[in-house]
């Protein structure tokens, strides 16, 4: 059977590839991504399952699923022109994705499906840093964390639990890493951007609180406090914390190896590994 061998939480800030290209491998962001990359490489994953929020690039208002899974041999991205990021072809595992979708639907989670799609920086930027050879297949699971009404934190956690069970019942000896990507508090191009900037961190206290709850494994408290009002108060992309919440059931009661905040951007880097 397949086994989940570790989990990561990462940001996906679109200007980080350019920033790291400009500032070099010793800058804070490069070092933080190096730390999670070392953890991922030590997991020796055969497959990555990534919970992600699309920024109206894979999907749009003509067709906007709350939850969806990519079922394809490979997909390309980024489709939104972040600087210093080439367009990659990312392999996937449609057989595993089909299995996960069927199991999730059987468990009451009506996962939409896309078989031909591109992805934006939110999937590609973490991979650009962590698996730049794109030699590990990736299954994206999309959680609509930007457009209210947001799915509830509890629903996302339970979806993550159903996905975990599905992965662990796949009849092949696969090592799987689960990744959640996004910010805890961030406003992008919205009214609460900082003066003169493209973004801002409207609720740094919430970002700190969320980091602490993730680090302590206090998931019930995190879920209770991550109301829609709190997520929207934390910024127009504050719902991206739902991707972390969907990742957490894969971790279970294990403690993280680290949770490293980067508070000027309202997000963090975290790693759990156990096998």
């Amino acid at each position: 059977m397949a086994q989940i061998v570790g989990a990561l939480g990462v940001p996906h800030t679109p200007f980080y590839p350019f920033l790291v290209e400009r500032e070099g491998p010793q800058c804070e962001t490069a070092q933080l991504f190096a730390a999670v990359t070392a953890e991922l490489e030590a997991m020796r994953p055969d497959l990555i399952v990534m919970f992600d929020t699309d920024h109206l690039n894979t999907f749009f208002f003509d067709n906007l699923p709350v939850f969806a899974i990519g079922v394809t041999d490979a997909f390309k991205g980024p489709n939104d022109e972040p600087r210093s990021v080439p367009i990659y072809t990312i392999p996937s595992r449609p057989d595993v994705a089909r299995h996960v979708r069927a199991a999730a639907i059987a468990a009451g989670f009506d996962l939409a499906m896309t078989q031909q799609f591109t992805v934006d920086h939110s999937v590609v930027v973490p991979l650009h840093f962590m698996t730049p050879k794109m030699n590990v297949p990736v299954i994206p699971i999309f959680v609509a964390g930007h457009v209210p009404p947001l799915p509830s934190a509890r629903r996302c956690f339970e979806l993550g639990a159903a996905v975990k069970r599905a992965l662990e019942s796949f009849p092949e000896n696969l090592r799987i890493a689960v990744i959640g990507t996004g910010s805890f508090s961030l406003e992008v191009w919205g009214p609460r951007s900082a003066p003169g900037k493209t973004d801002g961190v409207p609720d740094p206290e919430w970002a700190k609180r969320a980091c602490a709850l993730v680090g302590d494994g206090a998931y019930d408290t995190l879920i209770a406090e991550a109301s829609e009002a709190q997520m929207l108060k934390a910024g127009n992309v504050g719902g991206e914390i739902l991707n972390w919440i969907a990742m957490l059931p894969s971790v279970g009661v294990r403690k993280p190896k680290f949770v490293k905040p980067q508070m000027d951007q309202g997000h963090a880097y975290a790693a759990w590994s156990w096998s």
Binding site: V147, V188, W189, P191, G196, N236
Partner: protein, 91 residues
């Protein structure tokens, strides 16, 4: 439902490079094909992103306007205008 059209138009500035070039050179002509209300069209051509935001346009998508410097917008002008909505209910 023409807020949908404004959202779509914003994303076309990212996606369709010919449209991006057209709206940079002659905004009124480039958006003529879109079925917008007079208020939306006027606000768009004036770079009045605060009005568009209050009409329900998505801020993340509107960010493509200053990013590619169309409708007279750049980061400082966009930022100054969108921040006038800072007291609005978060969405």
């Amino acid at each position: 439902m023409s807020v949908y059209a404004v959202n779509h138009l914003c994303r076309e500035v990212l996606r369709d490079h010919a449209f991006r070039a057209a709206i940079k050179s002659d905004p009124a002509a480039a958006i003529a094909k879109y079925d917008l209300t007079d208020e939306e069209r006027t606000a768009l051509l004036a770079g009045d992103v605060a009005t568009l935001y209050r009409l329900g346009v998505n801020a993340f998508l509107m960010g493509y306007l200053p990013r590619f410097e169309v409708c007279g917008l750049n980061l400082p002008t966009y930022n100054e205008r969108i921040r006038t909505c800072a007291g609005d209910m978060p969405r």
